[in-house]
Symmetry: C2
Subunit: 883 residues, 2 copies
């Protein structure tokens, strides 16, 4: 027979898979001789058995629980359901990893109409006993029977009003007794059955309810967000009740062994005299600081400080401890690893190393890589009170406050007038980029985590809240409705891209540190010693490259040249180039662009002197540089109807419209773009390659060690690689010869199509490096358009669990990953030691970084502010702290 | 030392790889004791060596040629370059497979100012000798020296005018002599060098020119169109000249051993008395029928008939024979397998089996599967007399007649006025596509088999003749010159895309036969006995299904349900369904659609009674059923400016516009479509599945054996498969239970995403069959949108040889094929014996069918008219006649 029930002394701290974190912690504390109430844990295996058996107890569980209660009766000398000296228990959930507040707990179980009398007699405190009973009825009704709490709360409020009192503690025994009776009436009315008086039935139902709570919506959502497996199940701990509400020598507390916000080495927590745990949570009374105990109950405080220190040393980590004092006696109810801020996590890890409790490797593995993201953004000063007006998607972290503007041009104008602005758009397009640059933050009504707004904002390191359903924009009147509130251009907004919250007005912000704080540098240097992969950055400007370098980037993995084309002083020339009808006219425009591009490359190559800079040749379809078709259609129709079809204005716009229609594609993502552009219009790539190498030669003469790597995007066939490689090499060598400069350089390709993965051996005959463009590779492997999918079906897919993660955020190992693995094997098979990296946005996401490490990539490249995250994740991948 | 030179008696018919078809044929005839002039063949290997050595003779070739000439001198008793009895030779190209007219030939080589005199003396025919010499100068100048023929032709014309005569044969010896001198002057003037008098230099240059002609543009285009490898090279045959122009007992002819148009067993060909081969080609005189020889030279005729019969029996195939009669003596110059029409090919194959020359298997292997396509296009009624005005490339098969228009916009305007038009362009670009759609056929002056016009027309299934050199277009005057004839917009033209012929006027066309002719049925029944794979058809209507069944389809592999949604009586309800804001409103509309869909399925399931019908659930994005965004933008702008923003008309259109904008996607191909639709709006698929099974139950009660197979499109993840499978199965079983009917059915998926291939094992846990949707799979594997790519960069890619074939027409084995192979292995690994087919358009393309056979697919499914092609191709794949 499977053993489902473990008394605390039968387990230990290593058994959290079976006993849950709470059960294992209680077992460990029991073994260490700490004061823990008696009790036992029902295993996670029992929970899984419960689901397998269609929500019935698996065979043997019932008998083992009955036996467990019998043992508990023997130990405590109390009797379950007994009128004289009733055994009361708490029934608590406890998963393998902590899911605070996500699952259910029932206290005071074992009370019924008879035992409540016994408890009253035994404690000589009738008020306490009836208070405990009514609490139990409420909690049991809510958690086990699924009733709403409001009717119960309303009765209490009515009672207080009738009695003319304000606070629960002032309610007398008689009133609690009356309320308990009324509570039971509610249960009878609403469930059609009397409140269960059989304590064994109470226990059976409570255990089932805790099992059930594993699959509550909030628990599922929590697991999804925190990437916790659905298949683990929860354990259930049944423990003798101890009461913190038995008078002023009793109380209940929660404490952290160090400050979870700053990491400071000081006991941090709260204590509530004469209360049960739920009172702390409910916030009915303001708790004291834990340090106040030193004054009020010095012996207890001393004992607790001693135990807290022992637990921290024992677990080699900061603990989050729950305890109760019953009539002057301390009981430990729970200990677990403490949740903490990123700053605290890093500082604590460093301190624990210095205190000799951890080695560096373990310390590096302890800090969640993703959490470092918090450190590089402004945040809202939590000391001020504020209300959330609406919520959107936390698309790019950090907080920003500014005056609302509704167009990119307005954003620029207001910024130029010295104002802080938040750009509010239905969604953004490349036409809005100058406005995004001018804005403090971006708020959109549509769009997911990889919408244009989100991606560009993250690239810029600017806060963005995207896809806010509660936002309606009325462009005509320059006003919006946000969560029902009407706002007008110029009104102040504060957005928090870390949480997705949107607040009205201008809140105070705490700025991010201007450079890596020393403690973080120390910590990341430990990570650097451990990691195998290099960390590069995606950067399109010298400023971004400089920032990336400061944050530890060892190269530029993706410099997008199209953003250079978008700048205001070049766009007219770019448009001229696109509208050209002949190769000659196109070349004339390209000659005008050459000095601009050269200047761009000088800047970025200089910023990265001595380090490789991977420059991707033009990637997007040309119509992205022209006005939008929709806009032109409306405008030309207007011109035709107002000025007439013979007007010059109409003719001019109409000519542009026709060219845009010509270039229009059904599916531009799969159209004339990437290397196809460079093959159909070889003169474009030739100009870009010339600009790169002229820049490099210029710098070389100035003593700067420029290391350009030319990256051909979107190659899918050997012939594309061969042709573009040969053309680029020809121009590069020509320029070097013209300048009499020798310069090592490489030409490689972005692997971003399924076919490229399949024929990677053929590509590697020419390509000197591969860089996975996993954004596009994910698009084609799944057949999902990023621009569309994240706004339409991906949210539903995540909700329905068709997708576990958004594959544009977390690399899909099973599908996309299999193609990458094939590409790595075939590429290195054809060219030994081929340098391979990743420059899709996955390069800054810890679990994806770990996968890249498994694939044997040489580097990951991500946006500058994610470089520290990637450095840490790469180290954790090497030491196996990430799977 | 490599042996580069083979005398005819050193080779045999099996050596065409080395000696070319012509050389191997001459060797075989020599071995058979037939009258063949002496000569030798320079191998294809020498040609490859020539290219490897940067267009110099490979080592040893020169010496072997010199030795070959010496041997030839010995045999013939003549002497090369000798004044007394000069040896004259022909130098001809000859590739591994016949490329008629694509490469170069030089006759009468060995003539110079001295030997011409010798020839005159020896033959006693001065006119003959000088005629031969001037012919040689012209041919050598054109082929070897690259001079234009016009100046030579003009001199002849002037001469005839001066002499007052009309025909070349009337030109006397003296005139030819003068012309020869003038010809040499042209050469001196244009090349700066005298016409070569050294006969060995003549030979060396001629051999090099033939090698060179392997890479002439027209040869490359021909090979590309006919899928002949560029790497084979051509052989060169050097043969003693025999002269058909030595009097009326001389002549030259070409004959087919059977009629190449009808397959009739009768000698078919032409003979020209007192002429050289080039005169036949030039069409200066009208040749006699070969049968006339029976009367004029009965001995020669008898001998020729005898030889022709021997050759046909020897090769077990119809021969295309060139011969010359020199002073009453018959010489065989070439024999090769005859090109023939599809009808002739099938009829001949059947006859050869009946004659005991072939077994059925060999006969089935002999007919090009693709050629059967000819039988299902309109063709020109050959019973009417007509003249070919000009010839171009047969770029897309079928015949069409229409009035000539010169712009795409005109094509649309004329079509809209109810006219049939032929769009005539110098070449087409993506801007012409709307005109191509409007036209009956397309004719271009420039461009090869992979030009934009050719590729797009083939995609549309429209006749196209491309690259017609004889066409000049004068856009300004809306007129053209076609083979010298002036035509104006609106004039009638008939084009034949199967042959490349262009005729003036409106010729009568014969529509494709409504059913398989008996001879084709016989032939295909032989193929059916041999093939392993089944052949199914793609059909959306009962009529198409019926047609497919008549053409031999054994099931429906793809029935697209969206075409049913598009029908006029349903579209308003479909739009109502899409515009619905709530699930309830959507379901109301779907209830209205249910009877329509049920009726659709009744029709198609009944037509295919006893055979499987694979019905694909809704696939395209919903906005395809709504008016176009562009149209709406213009319309609402017009309404706003004319009727005002407060008008009801504006408001109504604006509401539709907004919904269309909501549904608008950047890349609809990668958007909310396929099974994503069925997951986001499960009620749509539920209605469709209900309609399918209600139809099947209805039929079952009427005794019809309905065999529905439900196909879920665009599945990429296990969870999508699991969810859609479960939903479909639930509805199906519900309906069957409601009707009390038992019916075997299956639910499977269309494998059309790279990820589906990679996770095929997971899909096969649920899917009961796979059907490769290679159109979409090709799109995502390459990252090409078919709608865009075939009209923009694919033609350029084919021209630049970045792509060997359009991957949407010929399945890409290396990339897409590798993913398919993976899917087959994983799918069958997870579910033994999993039924797998293909329903992309590749299912009707012979080489793709062969690949599907290699992959072990169970069936191919193609459009109804391609079923016969697929039946034959599948048989040829099984017997290894296709690679």
């Amino acid at each position: 027979m499977t053993k489902y029930v473990y008394f605390f002394e039968e387990g230990d701290g290593s058994m959290s898979d079976l006993l849950g974190g709470k059960g294992a912690g209680l077992a460990e504390m029991t073994a260490a001789g700490l004061p823990v109430p008696s009790g036992f844990t029902i295993t996670t295996q029992a929970c899984l058995g419960f689901y397998d058996a269609d929500k019935h107890f698996p065979d043997g569980l019932d008998a083992q629980v009955v036996q467990g209660i019998a043992t508990l009766e023997k130990r405590t000398g109390k009797s379950f359901g007994d009128h004289g000296d009733p055994l009361l228990v708490s029934v608590r959930s406890g998963a393998r990893v902590s899911m605070p507040g996500m699952m259910d707990t029932i206290l005071n179980l074992g009370l019924n109409d008879r035992t409540v009398e016994g408890l009253a007699q035994l404690t000589g405190n009738e008020r306490f006993a009836w208070d405990a009973y009514r609490r139990f009825i409420m909690m049991f009704s809510s958690v086990v029977l699924g009733l709403h709490k409001d009717p119960f709360e309303e009765l209490i409020e009515e009672r207080k009003k009738a009695l003319g009192i304000a606070n629960d503690p002032d309610i007398d025994a008689e009133s609690w007794k009356t309320l308990a009776a009324q509570f039971k009436d509610i249960v009878s009315r609403q469930t059609g059955k009397a409140f269960p008086q059989d304590v064994r039935e109470q226990l059976r139902l409570a255990i089932g309810a805790v099992f059930d709570s594993w699959n509550s919506k909030r628990a599922i959502d929590y697991r999804q967000y925190n990437k916790i497996s659905d298949s683990w199940g929860t354990a259930v701990t049944v423990m003798e009740m101890v009461f913190g509400n038995m008078g002023n020598d009793s109380g209940t507390g929660v404490a952290f062994t160090r400050d979870p916000n700053t990491g400071e080495r000081t006991l941090f927590g709260e204590y509530l005299t004469n209360a049960q745990g739920e009172d702390v949570v409910a916030g009915i009374r303001t708790p004291e600081k834990i340090s106040d105990l030193q004054r009020t109950q010095p012996d207890i405080y001393k004992q607790f400080v001693d135990i807290a220190g022992r637990l921290e040393r024992h677990y080699r980590d900061v603990q989050d401890i729950e305890f109760t004092v019953e009539r002057g006696k301390l009981f430990m109810l729970q200990t677990r690893s403490a949740k903490r801020s990123a700053e605290a996590a890093v500082r604590i890890a460093i301190d624990l190393v210095h205190e000799g409790l951890l080695d560096r490797k373990t310390a590096v593995g302890r800090v969640g890589a993703q959490s470092l993201d918090q450190l590089f953004h402004a945040r809202i000063d939590a000391s001020q009170g504020f209300a959330v007006a609406a919520k959107g998607l936390n698309a790019s972290p950090g907080a920003a406050a500014g005056q609302m503007v509704l167009t990119a041009d307005d954003a620029v104008a207001w910024r130029d007038a010295g104002k802080d602005v938040i750009l509010v758009r239905v969604e953004t397009t490349p036409d809005d980029v100058h406005g995004m640059i001018a804005a403090r933050g971006i708020l959109t009504a549509k769009g997911g985590a990889t919408s244009h707004a989100a991606v560009v904002a993250r690239g810029m390191g600017k806060p963005c809240v995207a896809g806010c359903d509660a936002l309606q924009i009325e462009r005509r009147t320059k006003s919006v409705t946000l969560g029902g509130v009407a706002l007008h251009e110029g009104d102040w907004l504060t957005i928090d891209g870390t949480t997705g919250n949107i607040m009205l007005g201008k809140l105070g912000l705490i700025p991010p540190p201007s450079q890596l704080p020393e403690w973080l540098q120390t910590f990341l240097s430990w990570a650097d010693e451990l990691r195998r992969m290099q960390v590069w950055a995606n950067a399109d400007t010298p400023e971004d490259a400089q920032k990336a370098r400061e944050l530890g980037a060892e190269g530029i993995g993706l410099c997008r040249t199209e953003h250079m084309f978008m700048q205001q002083d070049r766009l007219p020339v770019v448009q001229q180039m696109i509208l050209a009808n002949t190769k000659e006219a196109r070349e004339t425009a390209l000659r005008q662009l050459l000095p601009f591009q050269r200047e761009d490359f000088v800047g970025i190559l200089e910023a990265m002197h001595g380090l490789p800079v991977t420059i991707r040749l033009l990637d997007p379809p040309l119509h992205e540089f022209l006005p939008s078709l929709e806009h032109l259609l409306v405008e030309t129709t207007e011109l035709r109807l107002t000025l007439g079809a013979d007007s010059e204005e109409f003719k001019k716009q109409d000519a542009i419209l026709r060219r845009v229609q010509q270039l229009h594609e059904q599916n531009p993502m799969l159209g004339l773009r990437v290397c196809r552009l460079g093959i159909v219009y070889p003169e474009i790539y030739a100009m870009q390659v010339r600009a790169i190498f002229e820049a490099a030669c210029l710098l070389k003469r100035r003593g700067v060690d420029a290391r350009p790597e030319v990256m051909i995007p979107g190659v899918g066939t050997k012939e594309e690689m061969q042709t573009t490689y040969a053309s680029a090499k020809k121009v590069a060598d020509e320029v070097l010869a013209e300048h009499g400069v020798e310069l090592p350089y490489t030409i490689g390709t972005m692997v971003e199509l399924p076919r490229a993965c399949v024929v990677a051996d053929e590509l590697a005959e020419y390509a000197q490096f591969f860089s996975f463009g996993t954004n596009d590779l994910t698009q084609t492997t799944y057949g999902y358009s990023r621009d569309d999918a994240e706004q339409s079906f991906i949210p539903q897919y995540l909700e329905k669990r068709i997708l576990k993660d958004d594959p544009f955020q977390v690399l899909d190992r099973r599908g996309v990953g299999a193609l990458m693995r094939e590409a790595v094997a075939k590429g290195r098979g054809a060219r030994a030691g081929l340098k391979i990296g990743i420059c899709g946005e996955h390069g800054g996401e810890p679990s994806s970084v770990a996968f890249c490490d498994q694939l044997g990539l040489d580097y990951v490249s991500c946006s500058p502010y994610r470089v520290p995250i990637a450095r840490l994740a790469a180290a954790q991948a090497t030491i196996g702290a990430l799977d």
